[in-house]
Assembly symmetry: C2
Homo-oligomer: 360 residues x 2
């Protein structure tokens, strides 16, 4: 496991499932103590961030599923899965609906143990994972929770959207919270460019960011353009959004960052339902549907070739593959040497993908 | 560049295109000397293996294109491309034909320079790349040529086939041939299992192998099952064939191996045209077409996630991406939690993919 892949999944750490047996401390593992706390005290504002983040993303998952079901008129399939070492997940998927070709909303909550090489890599970005005497611990209990979402609409005029918010922490030997950080973001992938959608998507994200820190939006938009980049094609996967990682005490305190994460995630439903409702019933030609399919192919290429979380997950024995690959579109196409006509709407999209734009 | 990825492309070394300027020796590079030899003497049985392999695969490319055009009734598109440092390639593609959804036959011939780290990695499998005084050379001119082919038929009863034969050599400072090896193989990926096809495919390959060395077939079939393995799915990509690499002087002499490569490649047309002609007009249901699309998705997963050549190629700046991704099917599908009915024909295929079978 590498530090980057551990922190930049678009699928909420599914690979961490592969790590074995948690360490036992005070005879109870972190997972067991969290279970006990939930049972005895419930989850309140004074609970550890682990429990608050888990509660929050599960609530949001229900809200998002409800909102997307309302747009589509079709129910999601819900699969709950357990991880024997502690934690588990809920994968919600709507396939071949009226509006959505595929929509997946997944939550995973994972308890496990980091081996020394993983800790060493993480120490590059998180100095405080190193013990006071300068030693790298032999192993560390960790907790990881995240919500991730991908929606591929049927209508080629309606954009694909992806979102992921996650929290990671390691436990100190006494069971208190050690190193921690939040990561996340949301990005839009249209097949046809509607400036109105691109501007709204970015304006809404900027508003949330600005409320917390004026530096966030420009920094996270740039990070998004850099991360979701199909470098073998020389083009971005989509037209932007925000992406960030390693938000820890060097950036702000835990409460403030959690508040930012909450606001960001909560802004998804109004923004995206507004965009998709504008596009879902627009007329389109078979050629426009074909173009959507070619763009879907590029989406698959990014996810399978470049996305660190997906590829790491797929290479990890024991991961829940169907939750990781829920991000795949229902259908995709590859045409040899396919190039849009110069001056066409398709060509305009590619131009923006090759030269990311500031929308707000 | 790693040694493995340098030797196990399914796309004939496209990534080698990215390596810069060849070394100059006696004022002429290897590419220039080969050009001169072709111009002045033509290519005969006494020419260097580089020229004979190039001539042979280009002839075979024409033969295969002709044979597939005859089956389909549609002409291939032919793109010839040059590599400024020396060499180039010919990419032939037939898309959305009568019989074939996509058929790609590519030849690439590349001259370049290996940097020291690449040479060090290669030395693990090829000791004689190290100089007599035990030094690793700072850089080495190399030559790589290969033919690779993928055919995805439209009819779900007709299997996808993939094939690749390649030759690699480094030049000694005096311009003579240094370290060299051949690699290659051919494998079959049906959506529905016809034992007759599987047996014929393997029997024909076994016959060619046995003619040269009785150990080849069992060894290369096992290698094929191991290499074309979608480990995140716990299943093979297809039902087998042969795969081999590093066939060098420790295995046999250059002439004998070249003769084996020639026989193997020449056996493709009769075997595959016989199989595809039996299947191309079979009736099928929309559900069977859907299953084919799901299997196409698995094919994409293997090529983008696990195939060392493809992923290395896509991560190498300057590679001809369209030649690498010619291997993608025209269309593919991903269905969440899709599982064949127990006892169905689809389930039987999956069972064989999970437990590779000896067909002959």
């Amino acid at each position: 496991m590498t530090s980057c892949s551990a922190r930049t999944a678009n699928q909420c750490f599914p690979w961490l499932q592969a790590i074995d047996e948690p360490l036992k401390m005070d005879s109870l593992s972190l997972a067991e103590r969290d279970q006990q706390a939930k049972r005895e005290q419930g989850v309140t504002e004074t609970s550890p961030m682990r429990l608050r983040m888990e509660k929050f993303i599960k609530e949001q998952q229900r809200e998002i599923v409800k909102a997307l079901e309302k747009v589509d008129g079709t129910k999601f399939r819900v699969d709950e899965w357990q991880r024997k070492e502690g934690g588990g997940g809920i994968t919600c998927c709507l396939q071949d609906g009226k509006v959505f070709e595929k929509a997946g909303v997944g939550v995973s909550v994972v308890y496990g143990t980091l081996p020394k090489p993983a800790i060493m890599k993480m120490s590059a970005n998180h100095k405080n994972i190193i013990e006071e005497d300068g030693q790298i611990p032999e192993s560390l209990e960790f907790f990881a929770a995240g919500l991730s979402l991908i929606v591929h609409p049927k209508n080629p005029m309606a954009p694909t959207v992806h979102l992921n918010y996650r929290y990671f922490e390691t436990a100190k030997p006494d069971g208190t919270s050690g190193t921690w950080w939040f990561g996340g973001g949301s990005d839009l992938t249209p097949n046809y460019l509607f400036d109105e959608d691109a501007v709204q998507f970015h304006r809404d994200l900027k508003e949330v960011c600005d409320k917390h820190n004026k530096d966030y939006f420009p920094k996270f938009k740039k990070w998004c353009d850099e991360y979701f980049y199909n470098k073998h094609r020389g083009e971005s996967r989509g037209i932007g959004g925000i992406f960030f990682d390693d938000l820890d005490e060097t950036v702000s305190d835990k409460e403030n960052i959690f508040a930012f994460i909450q606001d960001s995630l909560k802004s998804f439903i109004p923004t995206y339902t507004s965009i998709v409702n504008r596009r879902k019933d627009m007329p389109f030609t078979p050629e426009e549907k074909d173009w959507q399919q070619v763009r879907r192919g590029r989406y698959v290429e990014f996810n399978l070739v470049h996305d660190r979380g997906t590829s790491f997950g797929l290479n990890t024995p024991g991961a829940r593959v169907e939750s990781i690959l829920m991000s795949m579109p229902l259908t995709a196409s590859w045409k040899y040497m396919h190039e849009p006509e110069p001056g066409s709407r398709e060509a305009r999209l590619v131009e923006v993908l090759q030269n990311p734009k500031e929308w707000v």
